[in-house]
């Protein structure tokens, strides 16, 4: 549905995005992750034909973004970073205007209007001026605008910003319900959002794609060992050596807090039972024992923070995991 081939965007000497290539299948939800200034918004602006790419090709629903912008725009519902609302219009007037811009009229427009207002629970504010609405409502009006003409492709730049937790869950459910019939690209800073809503994640940093996969596969790919964190009451000098002696333990690293250790075990082996038995039989006093799984946060931080992540994934990951252990 969306096919991006080697697009580059330069502003003078500054390269905002550099040879970005990815695709989104019909009905797929793709998350765009990346720190601020990574190039997420630029990529979205190219896909929505707001600006042309310096190099490369982007196609949406078979139409070229440079040569057939009007056809592309008809296929897309776009929610920019700031909800594009006119404060002097009421919600109904605004959505009517949006519908007319997209060539909807009469019965079709009225039906779409009622349906979208219902979907986003805007019924109670539909006759109020947008200028008088709260940030959360404006965000929902912005989302309503993108969904109004039921486009096959949705491009949402941080769709849940400014919403309260209940609304965030509702909007995520809404986006999930769109999967299957719509192709969705959403950018987000909130990593659990990507895990909760998306089938695939593209991580972009400094204008380049650094990883692209499902959330589960991404963490699995970067994980080269199982990790167990333990905290002991007493720490005799030989405990580190004894821990290392357990078959399957690759490395023992001291944690930041007193008495805590991070144990790296062979991939696919659960050594918690052996570790617990050793600690208990040695009377070291087991205060805590838990496995550390790599969350998308770790993957994200690692990929965007460490340039040399591909060369030394284990070390970077240990540091990321160690940081998390402190918290």
């Amino acid at each position: 549905m969306i096919d991006v081939q080697n697009i580059t965007k330069r502003y003078g000497h500054h390269t905002a995005i550099d040879r970005v290539t990815f695709s989104v299948a019909k009905g797929e939800v793709l998350a765009f992750l990346g720190p601020n200034g990574a190039g997420k918004t630029t990529t979205m602006r190219i896909l929505t034909c707001f600006m042309p790419a310096t190099e490369g090709h982007a196609r949406v629903a078979g139409f070229d973004c440079t040569d057939q912008p009007l056809d592309v725009k008809r296929q897309i519902g776009y929610l920019p970073e700031t909800p594009p609302v006119y404060q002097e219009l009421t919600v109904t007037e605004y959505l009517t205007f949006v519908g007319r811009l997209r060539g909807m009229t009469g019965q079709k427009l009225t039906a779409a209007l009622d349906q979208t207002i219902g979907k986003l629970e805007l019924g109670s504010v539909r006759h109020r001026l947008i200028g008088n609405l709260s940030r959360g409502y404006r965000q929902r009006v912005g989302l309503a605008q993108a969904l109004l003409h039921d486009p096959p492709v949705l491009i949402l730049d941080e769709p849940t910003v400014g919403l309260d937790p209940k609304q965030i869950i509702e909007i995520r459910e809404l986006i999930k319900s769109l999967a299957g019939s719509h192709s969705v690209i959403l950018s987000t800073h909130i990593l659990p959002e990507a895990t909760a809503v998306c089938q695939r994640v593209v991580i972009i940093n400094k204008g380049r794609i650094v990883a692209e996969d499902t959330p589960e596969q991404l963490s699995a790919r970067l994980r080269q060992s199982e990790k167990v964190s333990i905290t002991l009451k007493a720490v005799p000098s030989d405990c580190e050596m004894k821990l290392r002696a357990i078959p399957g333990i690759l490395n023992v690293l001291p944690g930041q807090a007193g008495g805590s250790f991070l144990l790296e075990c062979e991939l696919g082996r659960d050594l918690r039972d052996e570790i617990a038995r050793l600690v208990v039989s040695s009377h070291w006093g087991l205060l805590e024992l838990r496995t550390i799984s790599m969350t998308l946060e770790d993957v994200f931080l690692q990929l965007t923070r460490h340039e040399d992540h591909l060369a030394e994934p284990a070390e970077a990951m240990v540091s990321a995991a160690a940081e998390r252990t402190d918290v």
């Binding site: 006119y86 002097e88 007037e93 007319r100 997209r102």
Partner: protein, 256 residues
Amino acid sequence: MSPVQAVIAKELRGYFVSPIVYVVGAVFLLIFGLLSYLYVGFAGAQAIQLMQMQGGVAQINLNDLVFRNLFASVRIVLLIILPILTMRLFAEERKLRTFEFLLTSPIRIHDIIIGKFVSVLLIYLGLLVLTILVPTVLMLFSDFDWNPIWTGYLGMALLGALFLSVGVFASALTENQIVAAFVSFGTLLSMWLIAGLGSLLGDTTAGRIISYVSYMEHYDRLVRGLIDTSDLMYFGSGLVLMLFLTHRIVESTRWK
């Protein structure tokens, strides 16, 4: 309803929801009324003088004494108020980040520009129609030729349309409405003043070109009751040129 009509409807709605149309309209009509009252007053005083000198009923020409002066003075009013009507058109869209939304909607850039221009033109023409009350009332008490008045109105409509197109262009340049208003005001005032430069240079090539670029002589001929196709061409082409430049400016923001 086509996308252009949707833009026109939305802009008109925006104008009437904000106080801008009411304030600008009230000021325009008030000054138009005051000017009319003054010129009618002067004409009356002149008539009394003539009667005393000649005896009997003096024939005074309202077309010359009232309407030509009135239409000439209206220029300065339009110069000040029309930039205020146009300043929000694009600047506000940029400021409120709705510009990106418009440019990613399936509507062509020239349709956006035409929609915005037509909406503000309709408001201006609406104000002009209200001022027809002045000659209508005068008609009840005196006798004058309506034809130069219609050409005067044609002149005001064309001059206003040109001013508005300059305003639309200035609004597309910036996201600051004050800057937009000031740029169009400065441009229009310069176009006024270069008429003086043109007459200083006299009947030379440069003088003729400069006089042609200024709207003064084109407007004056219409106010005097002369319809010349070259004047109509001047206003038409000036307007199209400004809207074309607006298109280039809007288009160029996509490449920045």
